[in-house]
């Protein structure tokens, strides 16, 4: 880990603030402004996707069809996933990267500021186009976020708009990833060697490489869907000599690394927060870096565990089963290191630390259910049941989303210059952690009992746990309004934050005042 020394901010920064008015946000090339835009966009999409989740859970509150037609239910499950993955979690991580990476490596800004502006501003248009498909003739996409043909090809007029929106989201992600790689490789302060970089920077560097490698694969897959639909090709059309299972292979060659794109930056965040509140250096820094790289490598050779039931050769099933189980090794290294960092530390439990500790426990539950799903014969039973839904929501909500919330509380005083309300933050944490488990834990039972996913109706034996899950869902959703309130309150005012903010905080970003000046590190800081 780097030890920061001299904080070198631009002199007279107060005279060179941002431009005023709306055009500041449209034309900005400042990494902090763009980080703010990404985070605000992600928060808005989090609530849009959340409303869709509420509709899904409301329909599943009791057996029978209550509120909506099955097609609309399927549109909701599809759009909820697309909005949360591409609209909320990924942009939130890019927002955090924009704010923090230049400050953490002692760079004055991102390497390619105009590209940065473009990366962001593509997003609202892509998201608006995606959401607008719900109002088109034939409705929005309803075949699941995986877009499997031939089901996806049955989409109405929305089809080309969905494909174009996915292309735009992918282009935005790749441009953002290129910017992050270039910034980290070329813009580090003197003395900031690779193995001195904070873990958040390392995990994002590896994530950015994953993005550059796999987003074009998704783009290729959906382009082939497009030509199958409109240009009479037969990439995935069995009648024309194509193979619909090939789409699944290509999709999951993108899709599994995508899962790690959604979780590796979270690992980085937790690796920043835990040492701060344990007041100890991160245990096993090098092993954390190598474990992250190992997870990224393994993510390319496990894709077919998502499709064990399509009928693969036994050898392939065995290979993908064992390769998947192998991921538990570097992941276990990480969990061990986080626990070892806390061991005999001077622990305090401010809100960011609470979210980080909850992450370690609950993400590990998601990891264990992932191991269960990796066992091929067991997966034949679990496949397409609510057990899978429970598994990936533990990974993505109590994993990725909890890490984003922890990061927000951790860095918010640095961004706004005000401490957030700690008491309300703790309330938000405890409400979230209780109700997220009420929401998702019963879904394990439902899945093991055989309830299929993506179905708006179900047999009566699943009624009780569904009712409990829905109650947990509404309470968890309502708790997030408190998060919004706390963030807005901290932006508007509150106790003045010091430069270092947290007693145990180490790193360059804590050497600049709070709020961080508009331009930081006009001259490169010294790093020992």
């Amino acid at each position: 880990m780097s030890i920061a020394t001299t904080a070198t901010t631009a002199p007279h920064d107060e005279h060179h603030g941002p431009a005023r008015g709306l055009m500041r946000w449209v034309t900005t090339t400042n990494h902090k402004d763009i980080g703010t835009l990404y985070l605000c966009f992600a928060l808005a999409m989090f609530f849009v996707g959340g409303i869709m989740a509420m509709l899904i859970r409301a329909e599943l509150f009791e057996p029978g069809l209550q509120l909506m037609q099955p097609t609309f239910f399927n549109e909701m499950t599809t759009m909820h996933a697309l909005v949360m993955i591409f609209g909320a979690v990924m942009p939130a991580f890019v927002g955090l990267a924009n704010w923090q990476i230049p400050m953490m490596i002692g760079a004055p800004d991102m390497a390619l500021p105009r590209l940065n502006n473009w990366s962001f501003w593509i997003l609202p248009f892509a998201a608006a186009m995606l959401l607008s498909t719900l109002f088109m003739q034939g409705g929005g996409p309803a075949g699941g976020w995986t877009m499997y043909p031939p089901l996806m090809l049955q989409t109405g007029e929305a089809f080309p708009f969905v494909i174009f929106a996915v292309h735009l989201l992918g282009i935005s992600s790749v441009m953002g990833a290129i910017n992050i790689v270039v910034t980290i490789f070329n813009m580090r302060a003197p003395g900031m060697s690779m193995m001195k970089m904070p873990l958040f920077v390392w995990t994002w560097l590896i994530t950015a490489f994953l993005l550059i490698a796999v987003m074009p694969v998704l783009a290729g897959a959906v382009t082939m869907l497009l030509t199958d639909k409109f240009f009479d090709t037969s990439f995935f059309n069995a009648a024309g000599g194509g193979d619909p299972v090939m789409f699944q292979h290509i999709f999951w060659f993108f899709g599994h690394p995508e899962v790690y794109i959604l979780i590796l930056p979270a690992f980085g965040i937790v690796s920043q927060i835990i040492p701060t509140f344990a007041r100890k250096p991160l245990f096993g820094y090098s092993s954390m870096v190598y474990a992250t790289a190992s997870i990224a490598f393994l993510s390319f050779i496990v894709w077919a565990h998502h499709m064990f039931t399509v009928g693969m050769p036994l050898t392939a099933e065995l290979f993908f089963m064992y390769a998947t189980m192998l991921i538990a090794v570097p992941t276990g290294v990480k969990v061990f290191n986080w626990v070892a960092t806390m061991w005999r530390g001077s622990l305090t439990f401010e809100t960011p630390m609470l979210f980080a500790v909850a992450f370690v426990v609950l993400f590990t539950i998601g990891g264990f259910s992932g191991l269960m799903l990796a066992i091929t014969p067991a997966d034949f039973q679990y496949h397409d049941t609510y057990f899978v839904v429970a598994h990936f929501h533990y990974v993505l909500v109590t994993g990725a989303v909890f890490a984003i919330m922890g990061a927000t509380y951790y860095w918010l005083p640095k961004w706004t210059g005000h401490m957030y309300n700690e008491k309300l933050g703790k309330w938000h944490f405890w409400l979230s952690v209780v109700f997220v488990n009420v929401l998702f834990f019963p879904q394990h039972f439902l899945g093991l009992a055989g309830m299929p996913r993506r179905i708006p109706d179900y047999a009566v034996q699943f009624a009780d746990w569904n009712m409990i899950s829905t109650l947990g869902g509404f309470a968890f959703g309502a708790s997030q309004l408190l998060f919004l309130y706390i963030v807005v309150q901290s932006i508007r005012g509150g106790a003045k934050a010091t430069g270092r903010v947290w007693e145990g905080a180490l790193g360059l970003e804590w050497t600049v005042p709070s709020p961080a000046p508009y331009h930081t590190f006009r001259e490169a800081p010294e790093v020992h």
């Binding site: 590209l115 290129i178 074009p216």
Partner: protein, 40 residues
């Protein structure tokens, strides 16, 4: 104002542009490759 941003050393700026172009070319290449591999 944006004009107060410290300007980058031209060598660093060129290095940034070269690396960005290389990574962009890799991305476009992968996109084309995955379609071409599926042609028959």
């Amino acid at each position: 104002m944006e004009t107060t941003r410290p300007s980058l050393d031209p060598r660093v700026r060129r290095a940034n542009q070269r690396l960005a172009l290389l990574l962009g070319a890799v991305a476009v290449g992968l996109f084309v490759l995955f379609i071409v591999l599926n042609l028959k």
